[in-house]
Symmetry: C2
Subunit: 243 residues, 2 copies
Amino acid sequence: MRVIRSKPISEQVNTILRERIRNTTYAPGRRLPSESELSGEFGVSRATVRTVLAKLAVEGLILRKQGDGTYVNKRLDEVNTHLGGLWDFVRLIESSGFTASIEPLAIDHVTASEEDAQALGINPGEDLLAISRLFYANEKPAILARNLLPSAFCTAQVETVDGRLHIREMLKAYCQEDIAFAITDIQAALPSTDVAATLQHPVGQPLLNLKVSFYNANDKPLALGSSYFNDSILRLRLVQAWN
Amino acid sequence: MRVIRSKPISEQVNTILRERIRNTTYAPGRRLPSESELSGEFGVSRATVRTVLAKLAVEGLILRKQGDGTYVNKRLDEVNTHLGGLWDFVRLIESSGFTASIEPLAIDHVTASEEDAQALGINPGEDLLAISRLFYANEKPAILARNLLPSAFCTAQVETVDGRLHIREMLKAYCQEDIAFAITDIQAALPSTDVAATLQHPVGQPLLNLKVSFYNANDKPLALGSSYFNDSILRLRLVQAWN
DNA sequence: AAGTGGTCTAGACCACGAC
DNA sequence: TCGTGGTCTAGACCACTTA
């Protein structure tokens, strides 16, 4: 028998407040209850409420005004993500008002190029798992993503890989690794004919290309990613807040 | 006579720790003193130390490991920015290892287009201040930036505008406005001949284009920005951390 | 077992904005 | 003046890693 540890209080409060903002219990532009009121309602200390509100604030969900109060950001509908959500393509597509679906294209074994090996801290020629997938927004191809991870990290067989999983979940499930941070290179690129065809995008029109490296808490590279955004369908609009 | 208010303790601690990481007092990969040791050294509570460390952690400067310790990220040299620093082009250029300089190109009055007016919440035809500048990395043109702000917001004369100021400082100094959050649209674009010429970039090669709207805490649009990155010189490489 | 970071509390005082 | 959020403290206990 296993006791289900209750999640941290702050996480529960976080979830509740997010939900209230999402479902307009706290409507855009409205003022939230004060910190004292919230701490009273949830029966937690004010400090706990504050750590939660701080998180919502950096994501731009709420705006805090000293001496006045806390307000829901009116412009959330204009945005699809904040930086923390950059790699959750499904949520990004849905936040843009579309229905998201994932088509796993291929899960292959490839040998590491000089460049990949360098980035992953392994030797050239080592075996990599290459996971390609296409994300649709309302049935239209929106994002083409390819992840590379060293097969040596995986403890599970390729056949069992669920091509719809988020890369974070894959690394967790198949490699027992947690992503601690990521470094992203954002570029403009003219698509190859392959990429253009897959995204149903004119060859001469540039695309947004995100190249990312994922690392664990020991600075060990876990995986690489390269994604192309069809920005005739999907814009990358992110919100950022200060203080 | 004016009393100089001492800055918040946490800000001072923040500055000190950043400096120690920057000058490798805490070298990449090294373990930092524990929270208790730091709180002892600075004579502050552990909670205060923790709020500072949390900020450094979200920027990816340090990695925290429960039950173990806090470590300096080894890969800081690969990065030029994190999300909070996205619009400080000077720092971005310097973090990339170049010497930065700013050339103010023009400060004009223009009339708001339908689109600009919409974005700024004003009427089409109203007067805007258009500030164009070119950021150099080692004498090479790297970023072309143009900001638009309604003249009506400004209390100072155009002639007195310092074209080298950060947009945040401009809004503060000339409009008494603070930026609370920003919404950014990241796109790939083929440069116009003008833009290409200014950045000494081939016309057929795509550029990264960042379109940003700045807002105050009342959701009022303060200014617009549009920047083109010459990514043959300057890459946009950002770090992002979770937890 | 010892030491680390993670969570949480109950309180204090300050800075600021609205009334 | 009052209520808000901003800063800070001193302490408790938990979860986790390492030895």
